[in-house]
Symmetry: D2
């Protein structure tokens, strides 16, 4: 029998992680024509989820809000006109629920789970069928829960424009979620990966994931130049997945090939200082900002994940539904390698 | 009978326009297998040509060098293996002589006429056939001489990535050569153009060229926002052809649509200050630097020029071959509207 | 006040045009979450609509069915979650209601109006918002009603793959709806059009629409070869919009350029005989079948229609809602030039 | 010291394999500006090479001609303006010597080695630098000699239009050179391959190369339908590499996905009979003919071969330079699996 209530976490304000509260016995609304009721089995956290309760998120929020955008679970019941899913189907949530295909629109930007609209940190959630995709068959729920943001952003970086071909070179930065997925996708696609990191231990993990070259950016501040030199003829890489900030950007310009693409997916280092965007001319390259991706891209990506049996890297420390605050703190303290997951029994 | 000597201008050093000297009776070298001897009938100037003798050009030069990259003329004789041209053919010069198709390479960047290699300000010049394209049939030599840099840069901006479709919106800035060509190409392609300028008189000329909207950037410092508001739903323009610099870039970010492209083709305002390239993420757009274009793009463009009978805008003040210094000064003083041309009788 | 009943035409069986019956006082169903009630103001007919009651349509039908797929009208009321439209908005209907973006799917093929699901020949119809697009502002309802199939098919032919650039050459065949729209779109996009037809009178109309060359296929059975010869260097056309059949296809192979595209959008002449698809190798070209297009393409097309103030060609003989049978017969007798429209007062 | 003469094979007429004659002490011509003298170390045969002396080749020939188009060797000396190669460089030959990038032109079609111009079956050959590419570093000469036609055709099929993504499905036919390369490239790119063949023994080899599914077309005449059923949702494959002929084409239509591409690269079964190209509409797909590929594609492909350490499949029976007739007969008798190579000591 279909459940009538759910437990859910809520970000009540922006006073810090303590603003997250667990609510019980919240009624589940009736399903609209195209709605699916999903029993959420796992949720993964993104950096964005951490800074929302800390008041550092620069985009509009609809507080109080159920946090988190990444989730995987099982369809429990469906509305009268749902045509893509049936009870029992395993699904993942789409970040911007309205981003179906092609470009985001001003309107679809306002449909991001866990910020603009209620997210995934709950036992049961109702989503329109257009806000869900089929989970890759080769994944567990914990793995499937990592795809919504980090994986899809990496996929969009590599395939959204200037699509990766076998033999291309890709430069990734560090060991965040997007960077790790970018390595996995690029390796599966027959491209060659240069990764950067700050420790030999992480370098070994990156190599195990398929990165052919790893540069320690702590000991080699000119890592962009080093990366370019590794490529054939020193011509540079086709793709840089840029997650850093102004100083990192400076190196990315040195690493990128003529007509290559630097995809900006985050700027942990802020936006002050650093090179001018006009350097795109001096380096004859493209700089592209991407915000996750569309449902159509999510489906394409899932086919690639299945075909190549790609397993997302999940941090071994998986948290229970009642340990959400610990999960937040664990990721905040940067103790993780791979995605931090909350598993819901 | 084929000529054996030529007159030619030479930039001897970087002491200013006086560094340009006219040489007479310079022997014309024997033709290599793939060489064409071209009688040059017209040359147009670019901003780059002006700053080379002034020592402000930031790229490598091989001084002394015959200046100018843009030329049109008639093939006089051809080497033993030339297959594309025969005597009598009308041709234009390719800026980067080695840029045949696809992306520039580090090597082909070093083949720019009038800087890295000898240019067009001479009566006769020898070029490999791969460094020439057929001149559009609907143009005079004075018009054909304007295409090599300004027109091809505009074409590359609109068709090199994210190709323009009818119904798209394009924002151009000012009345420089690239901007005017961008208006003409966009209008011919069924796109809608918003242009900026600083005077009502120029605004009228831009409107006559087909710009549907003209914004005075002197009286409207938020011209980027204004441009976006003009577009359907206020969503912004698909393409910005960016010629300004940091402050201009700031407005371009406001004008551009999600997944739109800001093509950086110059930065008259320098590169200091202004927004970060990481703003590409906040605005979910692409910034792309282009350096002229390939021979293949030049040929495609010429088909578009012929099909739509596009006539390049040539400043009415055309200069003789002995008045080259006056031509340089005239453009330096910004007295022109349209391309400044030197005609060789 | 919202209407509660509607009149509607119905194809009851496949016994001929007499199988079309007018029904009165049919109750309008309650609106689902994403439904819009549309007052239909005009409908245009397609060849497919004629052959459905004649039992010649080779695809699955859900009889009895309200015929016709092309319609324009006004939104009267909207369901609780409709976000794109509000009462008073002018809209057009999408042919395959489920074809939102990218490729058709086996499922979305089964959502074609007027065949698989109820169509537009009624006073009021209920459509999900994803099955509607905003009507171009420059059009009347009669004009807007012509877009759903013929215009979108032409757009898909020219922009769905190998997108048209200014300067490209397009070959169209005859004066059917798709061919006329293809001429209009290609001309607006700065391409050059060669059209074929069978009479001087129609040739004049095609020239007036912007076709630069017209070939009489009755007097020139080698019209494909003739078309190729007209193009620069005799290299052939970039796009053929193929509507004929085996014999026509033979000429299309002669007309098309290397790597050009022959888009097959119909085969009035049947599929028996004619050249082999393997001729695609001998001619080094692509043959592409298209079935109308997606909602995203419809929206792009409408922007192009507005920007270039393209006016669909409507046959001057517009029929009333009670004269539907006359309209069918008129088109069947091929008395029309331009789209046959039924106007609903 | 540079050699002054060479041995070479010559097809003198079209009377059969006996028309191949070995010539000795043929003078090597002086190098033109852009010429490279290449010591050829290995040559591979294509089906086309076999039918040329048999008089079955349907395209223009310039007899007598040095046969074969596929070769690998070492640059011995270079002309005065050669910039891409130096003595000692290992190179492969380009099939259509004039096909640099983009589409073939009518002129570049007439530059095919071993038919329109002298080919590779000689100890030393002179080629313009634009007719050579750098050999992948991971290959032997015997392997490098297999790339010019079969590999580049497969690459063009998968990347020339509708570029392959990880997760896509590819259907190959049989064990010819193009089919085997298509499997290798598709597997390296993270796609899933369905191959067809006629024996269990060959099936095992195809599986070893990475094909995930193998269908025996002798026991399953509806192999196209079977292939489609294997794909997710039974939707069909993204790419078919079609080498068969009319009957094969019929199955390819059944196998291909909506908007998928059937690339026609040969028709061993002739062109008579079989389905109409208009079936492209009924199946909503593209049929594309490709004739080998461009130099730019060859370079891209070689990067992919190096990055993924792809080793071409060479038949173990390698022939000496004096055993060319045996090599022709061996391939004619279809005793080979993989490319038949002539090695020159």
């Amino acid at each position: 029998m279909a459940p009538t209530t759910t437990q859910q976490w809520l970000v009540e304000d922006t006073t810090g992680f303590d603003a997250l509260k667990l609510q019980k016995d919240v009624p589940i609304p009736a399903l609209g024509d195209h709605d699916c009721l999903v029993e959420i089995k796992a949720v993964s956290l993104n950096y964005r989820d951490l800074i929302i309760p800390k008041g550092k998120y620069p985009f509009p929020l609809a507080l109080p809000v159920i946090p988190a955008s990444d989730g995987a679970g099982t369809v429990v019941s469906v509305g009268s006109r749902v045509s893509e899913f049936k009870p029992g189907d395993k699904v993942c949530t789409l970040f911007n629920q309205g981003h179906q295909a092609g470009s985001l629109t001003p309107k679809s930007i306002g449909t991001g789970l866990g910020g603009a609209v209620n997210g995934t940190l709950r036992e049961y959630g109702v989503f329109e069928e257009t806000g869900l995709v089929r989970m890759p068959e080769n994944l567990t729920f914990n793995e499937g829960a990592t795809l919504s943001c980090a994986a899809l952003t990496a996929w969009n970086a590599l395939y959204g424009q200037n699509p990766l071909k076998p033999g291309d070179w890709v430069l990734t930065q560090g060991t965040g979620g997007v960077s790790i997925f970018a390595i996995q996708f690029a390796v599966a696609a027959g491209a060659t990966v240069i990764a950067t990191t700050s420790s030999d231990e992480k370098a070994q993990k990156l190599t195990a994931l398929g990165a052919k070259h790893v540069i320690n950016y702590k000991t080699d501040s000119e890592w962009g130049t080093t990366a370019a030199k590794i490529t054939p003829g020193g011509e540079g890489v086709h793709h840089v997945v840029e997650v850093g900030g102004p100083e990192s950007m400076r190196q990315s310009f040195k690493a990128v090939k003529i007509d290559g693409t630097i995809t900006v997916i985050g700027f942990l280092g802020g936006v002050k200082g650093g090179p001018s965007p006009l350097e795109a001319l001096n380096n004859i390259c493209s700089i592209r900002g991407v915000l996750v991706g569309s449902r159509q891209q999510f489906q394409d990506m899932n086919h690639a994940i299945e075909a190549n049996d790609i397993n997302p890297v999940v941090d071994p420390n998986v948290f229970g539904f009642d340990k959400v605050l610990d999960a937040y703190q664990y990721q905040w303290d940067q103790k993780h390698f791979g995605k931090v997951v909350v598993s819901i029994p």
